[in-house]
Symmetry: C2
Subunit: 398 residues, 2 copies
């Protein structure tokens, strides 16, 4: 198997694509080459890597007889879908970095892999340099998993760290993140929690064998956070982190959500700062495992993509074993959580129907409650909440 | 491949062997069974698991036609060597938990695996529930690794935590560790750093492709630590942890050591407490990865052993790719480190030849220096240092 040579047709030459190229330039593996790169702006990228062959036509990649492997690292989810589908149908192994596309089309992609006996790998897309999918697929395969919880987006975490620890404002922090190559071309995907949500959906398939459409899951980002929320966190000696959370809360019930959490120092992910990602996997036998590593930046993500690529040298494929479980878990929003809720008027307070209020504060400039509310309530009002001047953060009791 | 059934001949029914059995009882996999167990004391273990078949004869396992898989979880390294060798020669796949045996005989075991086209797996033995070997073999395969550093022994870390954070004395902490099933039958292996050393040797093969005999490596445990050392650490706002450290310090030079480190809060492994293990992998592309999980106890280690076992369902084998590197690294002790050195007399001070002394304290009851000394010096004097009333801890400047 190790005598194979991987000849890559690459789509996209942004931070990750360029990162992959830079990593290959450094380690010069004998059996992995980039044969041709498809980009929108050929002259721009040709200048970045004069010795590479660029094209702006996907057909040039697929008709190149040398190409035996497709790597798709573009932002446009619909274009990514077409590329990956076409590659799998042509029985070419594929590595994809498009979380949005994967979260939307993963069922079809699993079918295509099985029909065409070819592999689609995407560990790099799920958690940057942390090999969470492979570890869930193989190593934690036998454990009875209870929860997977983590900081899944390096860009928003970087921004949160800068605001929280260094007193930057949002615009400064975002500018710095973009300058350092940690922010995607559309920051709303990061800040709004969508990127974390797509990753959580992918992880939950491998952890629990459950696929849930993005629309069914409550997602609330960090875009609405203001100085009062930060002060509240400091007063409670907690930090605000954007957390993807997947947990088996009952024999057959699985909850999923993405929202800010007010984390106490005892939590492993409390200390995950800057562009890092951190994932806590809780199982019946292992208690807790914590994996931590860089979640953004050219080298870490480029290198993670290369790990997905070279897995093909030993014919590695995801097995999706848990999807065939005899007693599958069911996704549900029927679960109560305790949240911190900053609101600006009686009308926004009434958006949510709290069963219990544990704490309440009211002044002209700042109002909040800490109370219990169901995920289904939050989910039903998600769009209105996002558009209002309110902030929500899970407020765990420990 | 998934239609295989694994019928285990098990050697040993201590904490880990019983843990494996308990895990199997909980998850009841269709394709993994324990067929027969070889132990020294049959009546004792028969009472623990009446429905299992026990024997005290190894031949009973090897001659049982049902057995197609050997799991070796015994303390005696020489007996473990005979069992694993016999199994590999009989082309039976094996999972071994004996670090001492592996660290001593790994080269022969690699040859036997290749000759007999069968697999020997031991992830569970290297870092408890953290799948460090597999991740090094596969995921970090392409990265240019710089260092692997970690708390590799749950038992000694548990004892250190109890002494350090809860003010227990050594005897109390050891008793509690043994009561909770965190200490091996011979605690000197844990306390003396030997267990960490064996694990470090195994890890270094997979991380750097370098095998080093235990005798060539400086190893100093925590057995000599006293209240002055603890106070020194507290004053410097550091914690003492027993750390296995493997680092590429030059283009072709690799250092290895096991000794206490005085760790500042900034270090990831500073926060690894109780029976947990934590490993930091540093690479050129990934910067730092941190993996953390339980390193002792029946369920975590039993479950980790089961992960090694079920890897056989998809014919997983370690590839040992780095052993065939074109430019192999060379192990060396020619490297200077800064240490805290508590000594009791001019004679013990003179055991080491410091090139620079950065800090010195002297009183009737407590004397120490902080200074630079070579690993080769430490290694040459290791036995004398262990037998004297001295304590050594790496004292990193950050």
């Amino acid at each position: 198997m190790n005598s194979k040579t991987i000849n890559i047709g690459l789509f996209g030459f942004g931070t990750v694509g360029k990162g992959l190229y830079d990593v290959l330039q450094k380690i010069k593996p004998e059996n992995v080459n980039i044969v041709k790169v498809c980009v929108r702006n050929v002259p721009k990228h040709q200048a970045e890597a004069p010795e590479l062959e660029f094209t702006d036509q996907a057909d040039d990649i697929f008709s190149d007889p040398r190409v035996n492997f497709i790597v798709e690292l573009i932002d446009d989810a619909e274009a990514a879908y077409a590329i990956v589908k076409r590659a799998l149908q042509a029985q070419l192994p594929v590595v994809s970095g498009n979380k949005k596309m994967l979260a939307r089309h993963i069922n079809e992609m699993i079918t295509l892999q099985r029909q065409n006996h070819t592999a689609l790998l995407y560990d790099a897309s799920a958690c940057g340099s942390i090999p969470v999918i492979r570890n869930l697929e193989e190593y934690y395969d036998n454990d009875l998993l209870i929860s997977v919880k983590g900081i899944l987006n390096g860009s928003s975490n970087f921004i949160l760290s800068k605001i929280f620890n260094e007193g930057m404002n949002y615009a400064q922090a975002l500018e710095l993140a973009q300058k350092l190559g940690f922010a995607e071309s559309d920051p709303t995907l990061d800040i709004g929690g969508w990127d974390s949500l797509f990753k959580l959906i992918i992880i939950s398939i491998h952890a629990f064998g459950v696929y849930v459409q993005p629309e069914e899951i409550f997602n609330f980002g960090i875009g609405n956070m203001n100085e009062h929320d930060i002060q509240f966190a400091h007063e409670k000696q907690r930090r605000i982190k954007l957390v993807g959370w997947s947990e088996k809360v009952d024999d057959d019930k699985l909850i999923l959500s993405v929202m800010p959490h007010l984390l106490s120092k005892q939590k492993y992910i409390y200390s995950v700062e800057d562009e890092f990602n951190g994932v806590v996997i809780k199982g019946l036998f292992y208690y807790k495992q914590f994996m931590f590593g860089q979640g953004a930046g050219g080298f870490p993500t480029g290198s993670a993509v290369l790990s997905d690529i070279t897995a093909q040298l030993y014919d590695y494929r995801y097995q999706y074993k848990k999807l065939d479980a005899a007693h599958p878990l069911k996704f549900s929003n029927d679960y109560f959580v305790r949240i911190y809720y900053r609101y600006d008027s009686p009308a926004t307070l009434n958006l949510l129907d709290f069963t219990t209020i544990h704490e309440s504060y009211y002044s002209d400039s700042y109002k909040y409650v800490v109370g219990d509310v169901s995920l289904s309530q939050l989910h039903a009002q998600a769009q209105k909440l996002r558009e209002s001047d309110v902030f929500i953060a899970l407020y765990p009791q420990d």
